[in-house]
Subunit: 416 residues, 2 copies
Amino acid sequence: MHVADAPPHLRILRLLRDEGPVSRAELGDRLELTRPRLLAEVERLVAAGLIAEAGMAASRGGRRSTLVELHPRLRFAAIDLGASSIDIEVTNGRLEPVATYREVSDIRSGPRVILHRVNDLLAKARTDGAFDRLDAVGIGVPGPVSFRDGVPVSPPIMPGWDRYPVREFLAREHGCPAVVDNDVNIMAIGERHGGVAHSVDDFLFVKIGTGIGCGIHLSGTVYRGVDGCAGDIGHIQVDANGPVCSCGNTGCLEALFSGAALARDALAVARSGESPALAERLAGYQAAARRAAESEGLSADDEALEERVTITARDVADGAAEGDVTCIRLIREGGRRVGGVLATLVSFSNPSMIVIGGGLAQLGHVLLAEIRSVVYRRSLPLATGNLPVVLSELGSRAGVTGAAVLASDTAFEQAS
Amino acid sequence: MHVADAPPHLRILRLLRDEGPVSRAELGDRLELTRPRLLAEVERLVAAGLIAEAGMAASRGGRRSTLVELHPRLRFAAIDLGASSIDIEVTNGRLEPVATYREVSDIRSGPRVILHRVNDLLAKARTDGAFDRLDAVGIGVPGPVSFRDGVPVSPPIMPGWDRYPVREFLAREHGCPAVVDNDVNIMAIGERHGGVAHSVDDFLFVKIGTGIGCGIHLSGTVYRGVDGCAGDIGHIQVDANGPVCSCGNTGCLEALFSGAALARDALAVARSGESPALAERLAGYQAAARRAAESEGLSADDEALEERVTITARDVADGAAEGDVTCIRLIREGGRRVGGVLATLVSFSNPSMIVIGGGLAQLGHVLLAEIRSVVYRRSLPLATGNLPVVLSELGSRAGVTGAAVLASDTAFEQAS
């Protein structure tokens, strides 16, 4: 919903969230509210415990006006579930973190295990003094979501989660409103709140991590599609003769370039020796694993060790930084694949910015340069004339930031 | 703008446009307006000459209520400029045509020539008694448009039109509001008003004509992109080794399949004899052209004749209907190309319907079957589970219908 369309109480709360304490006088001017209307709204929000007075503003000439701010007691829980991680921030009303938790976790353990672990972490946050009670919970999950129903819908990498009542569970457990969205959508929302897409109305947020997805922000709001799966670009076919994907089709974008695909290709060129930089790292990791096994008195079976040792995007980025041509080639080939798909999406949606985030964003400017080159070459000049293609600013915090924005919006909307 | 968000006068006018005469009592119920509010709004719209009383409604028990309708005098001009055609409808308030004009014309003649020809046709319509004065003019043009500014923006096939003040010109000439949009957007709007996408909020309208474009209807409204060129899908690269396109890139969708591309390929298989059905038609056309030349006493130079004679999409459709395998192959190959791009756009935008329109829609179910097959095979099941891929119902009237909708919306919005 556009700010201008929103009811006054929502506009007041959002302004205080995004800009901090403001005097009553300025609030009335900024939101174009008459003095009696403003007074009534402020009084109601004070009574509801959502805002509080915060001393006197500096004089603008004439009578000094009272500052108002979001109530210091307000707390939101922001949760970002990844394929293999749980990230939680408890924030104040201004969405500043007051407590942060991160742990490794497997989304395939199912909703009961994962959501109870989320509850345990939040119980710990309460014990740690991060909050007395929560005003809203926002959560992102790595799969399609029916935003209206607050449930995952046929999520391919989340067995057991299909239509599990995530929103209802969290709302009941914490006695507050809850909101559920796709993980890439919350990253896009986060980047728009506090990152590189600040105040940009039309942009694409492309997450390149374990998989690939796209958050679509159009006309100032997230576009989720009729089934909640808009932006599911990882399974676009980019090479009819490419490798088989986890979805069963061949040549999907994420079968060719994603965290998993890059790890596979990097390991291959490390083993073959084609990449000296990665071969050296692989040997180092194997030696370390062997020492660790020996120090625990286990037999250091070379073959088993070799299977456990992996190469990551970080290694490829480091190799590229050292000038290893194979590492650079792997990144550029990936960038070319992603760029090809993005060129199509730019022609279709004519956005004003593209933000690249997710774990593989650490491949940095080599990746970015290749994506840009393909997007600019293959899309029409009108669509790319002023189109920045940039890296995420928030990095791994994009998701929780967006979840906090959603949580606060939900709390504010229900305060009418 | 969603109907529910719109101000009362707009909701009244749209309801009367879309459904015809309604009693005051029903109007109040349907729009959830209090009786005093409704009376005030109706009185104001009567005074503004936009609505009129139309006798008494049938009794619903109790006092009979007066029917109101859009004023019978209301007239909108709807104009659809194609690459090689001008289509005009003058409609009444309910968007029913009261006069229709169609003529061949070359958009490359530039705005002065084309818009003066439009004015001549409208002058004729006035002389024919179609209207005394116009309440609004809506026009679609075959290129990107800044909807806000009412001007074409860098339109590739419209030399001389870049930023020409089309809206201002028409508004001044006709003394009424005017609105300018892209031709594919108005076709999408038309199809949603009176065609197969009736009341569908999220759909893609794919026009396959001289070129290829896509009208994007999301959350109940046209999405035009930040530069007005959203949906410009004709220059998406589908084959890096494909033919050179008019845009300078290689292997663009419309270089491989569009009216122009199909005419080129059809002529080739007619000349080579690979398609007996097309070879026979070509020979027939050449003989007819020779007879026409002879009857005019011109020399029947075979080579020059051969260059003038063309094969059209209609011929290919007829050949396919007769079972000519090469015609069927040409259509299926085209459908496969379009389907591949649409599969990508479905994964990205998760719409609830795809409508295929434009001149090549006459290739009918052979084309449709191939597009469907590729879209369903390559997109994820969640996005295609309930996704109809259907042919336009309005055909060549889609554009003028949409232009009339836009014109009426503009007139109604300015009536506040």
